[in-house]
Amino acid sequence: MEELLFFVSALGALGGAVGVVAMRNPFYSVLALIVHLFSLAALFLLLTSAFVAAAQVVVYAGAVMVLYVFVVAYVGGGGESAWEPIPGQRFLAPLLGIALFVELSVAVLSSSLLALGEDGPDVPAGFGDPAAIGRLLLEKFLLPFEAASILLLIAAVGAIVLASNRRETS
């Protein structure tokens, strides 16, 4: 049952990723990314991390993707030109991607991490639920938590400054 769930969600995640790369219209790319994110949330649930899965669905598939859809609707998704600045780019890039995948896989699988081939230790019932993550965030990782909140504030102010409609007065 667990294997079946893993392969179904892995297929969904991979199909979504390939769809993002292959779709010509940016709007369809955004929709493919939403499929990818939901499959990834299922994978997080398989890894008994309920809070990360919920945050994935709420933050990414809910908020960030709505932002993308608005911007695609505002800018308008035109097709890309077929002109290639580097000859053969369309064939060289997949080769490079495959080489990167093989290299990463070899690097991970040939490492001396013995626990890679196991199921992992048995975890207590509350592993990865919101209470455990919240306790970690507010006790052990309080400083990164505050830094993340300041980063969000700076990003919001920066986006308003970048996208505002004022005229240059230099």
Partner: protein
Amino acid sequence: MNAEWFVVLSALLFATGAMGILIRRSPMVILLCLELMLNAGNLALVAFSRMVGNGQGQVFAVIVMVVAACEVVVGLGLIVAIFRRRLPLNVDDLRELRG
């Protein structure tokens, strides 16, 4: 389920995102491919966290999510600013900073 399945899947998703960044020329789709790569990293972090039996990797994944949201906000603001100035939305034409 072995952890190595998850790690290999995350390597595959990362390579797909990197390939998309190399192929596509619309800045919006390049941002989407960046999201793919960040999410692949998140999957590896959560898989390692489960493997160790420690929740700290999941906190790391949540922080990565926050950083990804910031990057999307700034990137989309840049795209809107580029569009307002009637510049082409094509990374090959926007290369004055290349030197």
